[in-house]
Each structure stands twice: as structure tokens, then as C-alpha cells.
């Protein structure tokens, strides 16, 4: 894969000694959606800020589109759009002027048609002459996205785009991201909502304590680390699991009506066939079977726990 962003040994120590990034290495492929998952204070925002030029790295190099962010900052920043976590907007400015200002700041000639198109795409068309202070929180977030897109960036950073956003708007946001991906924009978003990463990301990176713990294809990650559970509903409740089934390490539900078997989907044998045979042999009558794949959330919680 060809990387559009390449981060090597990136370190950031703040005055006072706090080390927000402890040697981050990360390659981001052209056109992908990468979700960076991590708890509060993991270093997500610092990582983004450093790539965008808001924060100066203590050590390490970052290239965007092959340009170094320190020496070729004009070229790299030209490629990047940033949607910050906080709603940072000038309240007295109109939506259109605010977005047009961003375009000019990034060195692009005025293009009202383009700005209008972005505003329409983000359902802000009828609000373009409204003052920002008159908008709802969700609308303001859209304005931030419009500002980030105003200079036609090839890479878009979304720092917790759906924090504090209602369900409907979150779905809208996901649609917007999908649309941008279709246009070939590389998207890096941070989130602590696992379902967000699960819903839209191609790859998932987990960051905690200033270190990248893992970066992997979302489906691969879930397949590799995902365990499956088989839930067996039985006709007559059991008070204890028969000795003949002890090898399967079954979990019994409180009412004795369900047994749960955990297995690895990537293993050579799942043991399901023999389990079912043995269950029948033990005289248990099965009424239902159900399987459940562990979610990204389980994986994430497991990883973060391991490192703390």
C-alpha cells in the first residue's frame, strides 16, 4: 500500500515533563479510513495536532504526501483538513464567511460555487447567511467540517466528530465520511465510541498512554482476536453440568436453561460437532442454538486493560 502519511518515532513531551506521545510509528494508506481508538488522555489529539502543525514534536518525523511537516509545512498543511474536537468558531461571523475565510487562509482563490456546494452537502445551504452563534451544536459541528473541507484537502482529520452528538446526526456524520472516502479523501478519525470505528473504519488503531498498541484491518482484527460464543438453550434446566462435558468449560446460566460455549473461530477445530454429540449423549434436549461474535469493544477493553 502507498502511505499518504508516515509517522516515525514521534515523541512529544510537554514542558513539565508529561510525555503525551512515546515513540509513535504509524503508516496511513491513501484513501483509507483509519479510526484511532483510545481512552481520554491517550494521546489522540496530540497526535493529530502534531501532524497538522499545531503542536511541535519533540522528536521524530512526519511526512504527508511525501513532504516533511516541519521543513515543507506549506505542502503538508495544504493537503490536510482538520476538524477539531472543540467547537471553535467565531460566533459573530456568518456560516458562509467563516467557511470562505478558511479557504483563503489555506491559500486558495475565492470560489463561492465550491463553498456553496460543500454547504449544501452538509445540509447547511439554508443556514449560510446565519450567524454561527444562532446555530445548534450539531450545525456548528457541520460548519467545522465545511471549514476543514473548504480548501479541498486530500487528508481529513476528524477529532472525535461525534462526541456529544445525537444518534441521528452521528449517522449523518458517518454518511458524510463515507461520501468523502468515495471522493478519495483519506480520513483519520479519533473516537472513543467503538461502534463508530466498527461502522465506518477500514483499519483500527488503538492508542493508550502515548503509544500505538495495535493497528490492524478492522475485519482481520475482529476475526483474529474475536472469539465466538455458542449459546445453547435446553429444554429442562440443569443444576450442574454433567462430568462428561467438563472438557468444554461450559458456562451455565443462573436459571439452568442456557449453556454457553466459547470457541476460537480461527482454531483448526471448533469442537462444536463433538460438543453437540456429547450434549445429546448426556441426555440434554436442545431447544435453540445461537452464536455471538465478540465486538471491537471487547477487544479494545481487553487491550487497554492489559497495558494499564
Amino acid at each position: 500500500m502507498s502511505s499518504i502519511i508516515s509517522i516515525q518515532n514521534l515523541r512529544k513531551a510537554y514542558p513539565g515533563g508529561f510525555e503525551a506521545l512515546k515513540g509513535v510509528n504509524l503508516e496511513i494508506a491513501q484513501g483509507e479510513i483509519l479510526a484511532l481508538l483510545g481512552p481520554n488522555g491517550a494521546g489522540k489529539t496530540t497526535l493529530i495536532s502534531t501532524v497538522c502543525g499545531i503542536t511541535v514534536p519533540t522528536a521524530g518525523t512526519i511526512t504527508v504526501g511525501g513532504f516533511d511537516t516541519m521543513t515543507d509545512y506549506r505542502a503538508t498543511r495544504d493537503l490536510i483538513g482538520l476538524v477539531p474536537q472543540e467547537i471553535n468558531l467565531e460566533p459573530f461571523e456568518t456560516v458562509f464567511n467563516s467557511v470562505s475565510f478558511s479557504r483563503g487562509l489555506f491559500g486558495k482563490p475565492r470560489n463561492d460555487a465550491y463553498i456553496n456546494r460543500i454547504l449544501d452537502q452538509l445540509s447547511l445551504g439554508d443556514k449560510k447567511d446565519s450567524k454561527i452563534m444562532a446555530l445548534s451544536g450539531g450545525m456548528k459541528r457541520r460548519v467545522l467540517i465545511a471549514k476543514a473541507l473548504s480548501h479541498e484537502p486530500r487528508v481529513l482529520f476528524l477529532d472525535e466528530p461525534t462526541a456529544g452528538v445525537d444518534v441521528e446526526l452521528r449517522k449523518d456524520m458517518w454518511d458524510i465520511v463515507a461520501g468523502l472516502k468515495a471522493d478519495g479523501v483519506t480520513i483519520i478519525l479519533t473516537t472513543h465510541y467503538i461502534e463508530e470505528a466498527e461502522a465506518i473504519a477500514d483499519r483500527v488503531g488503538v492508542i493508550n498512554g502515548g503509544e500505538i498498541l495495535l493497528v490492524q484491518d478492522k475485519s482481520e482484527l475482529m476475526a483474529q482476536m474475536g472469539q465466538k460464543q455458542l449459546q445453547i438453550a435446553i429444554k429442562d434446566p440443569v443444576t450442574e453440568i454433567p462430568d462428561t462435558l467438563s472438557a468444554y468449560a461450559l458456562a451455565r446460566s443462573e436459571d439452568g436453561m442456557h449453556l454457553t460455549y466459547t470457541y476460537d473461530t480461527t482454531g483448526e477445530r471448533t469442537g462444536i460437532t463433538t460438543l453437540l454429540n456429547d450434549l445429546a449423549a448426556a441426555g440434554l434436549v436442545m431447544t435453540d442454538l445461537q452464536t455471538r461474535q465478540s465486538s471491537l469493544e471487547d477487544i479494545f477493553v481487553g487491550l487497554v486493560k492489559e497495558t494499564t
Binding site: 499545531i54 511541535v56 509545512y73 506549506r74 498543511r77 478558511s102 487562509l105
Partner: protein, 253 residues
Amino acid sequence: MNIYAVQTIYRSEMKRFFRTIMQSLISPVISTSLYFIVFGAAIGSRIQEVEGVSYGAFIVPGLIMLSVMTQATANASFGIYFPKFTGTIYELLSAPVNFLEIVLGYVGAAATKALFIGVIILITAFFFVDLQIAHPMAMIAFLLMTCLSFALLGFIIGIWAGNFEQLQLIPLLVITPLVFLGGSFYSISMLPGIWQTIAMFNPVVYLVSGFRWAFFGSADVSIGISLAAIALFTAACLAAIWWIFRTGWRIRQ
């Protein structure tokens, strides 16, 4: 050079000025008129002449300087402080712009606003006193230099300020006293001996003096020294701003 960015910042700042054009222009006109009534007519009628010029005319250069310096400082400091306050500074820091472009945009706009006000006051003055300008080109040059240098100073204050109180602090505590003690309404030669020496450490003395020379052809200090002083002040402000952006002081971590 990201010329679009400079234009964008400049226009956006000027738009703020024109949005409040009435306040921006009426207040200096009214306060100038008051100065002319109080100093020019009430007090001035008891003062014959200062350095061969009627007192009413004598205070015009100082009056313009007073407004231009405070306006340039206030506009530039607010211009860069406001994005810090609202958080929109992130955009400035992540945009492909360098320090010179940011300064040109913000300081250029603040200097332009101050120039507008200076010109308005000058026009107002013509209604009150009989005024001749001995060296018009020098007058314009001094006016421009003052607008620029004090806008640079304001920019530094805006970056330094952590809240609105601090934003007011320097103008109130430093600039206003320096301007009043800088011979805006009197000639330095009118001060008692020791104060004349002390006044020479006040940079505003050189600006007011040079500006007054442009009007009346005579001044407290020679025009060369005045020019050198304002050039030095401008250079010091530019160096400070260059250092601020190089180190990221108070703006980039």
C-alpha cells in the same frame, strides 16, 4: 508567499471595522472635538503661543498621535487575541502560512484602521483651528510608521494576553501615560529641568516631536533622531514577533 491568506485575514479584520463603522469613527471625532473645546478654546485662550504656533494648532499632532497609538494597539491586540479566545487560532496554526503573512494580515488591518482614524481627526481639526502642514510627505510617513509600529506592539500584547483584563492592562498602564507624558499637549521645553531629561527616555516623545516637526517645521528633538527612534521601535517589535513565532511562545506548544 501565501498572498490569499494575507488578503483573507486583512479583509476579515477590516470587515469587523466597517461593521461597527459608526462607533469606530464617531467616538474619535467626538473626543477630538472635546479636546479642542477644552484645551484649544478654554485653556488655549490663556496660552498665547507655543513655539510660535497657536496652542489650538500646536496640540493637533499630539492629539492625532494619541488616538493613532491607542487605536493601533487596541485593534491589533484584539485582532489576534480574539481567535485565541474563541479557539479559532487552531486554524491559523494549521494553515500553510508563516509568521510574516499572519503579521501582515492582522497588523496591516490594525494599522489601516488607525490610519483612518488619524485622518478623520486631522480633518476634524481643520474645522477648529487654522492649520498648515509644512512637510506633508513627512507627516504621512510619520503617521504610517506610528500606525505600523504600534499595531506591531498591539499584536505582541494580544499574543501575550491570557484574558481580557490583560488585554487592557498595557494600553492603560503604559501607553496612555507615555503618550500624555510624551509632549502631546505641551512642548518638552516647558517641563522643569530634571523632567526634560527623564522625558528623553520616553519613546513617544520622539514620535510626537517628529510628527509636530512635519506640521510646523520645528520640534523638541531633531527629525533624524525621531526617525531613528521610530525605526528602532519598529525593529524591536518585529524581532519580538519573529521570536514569538519561532518559539511558539503562548501560541504553539
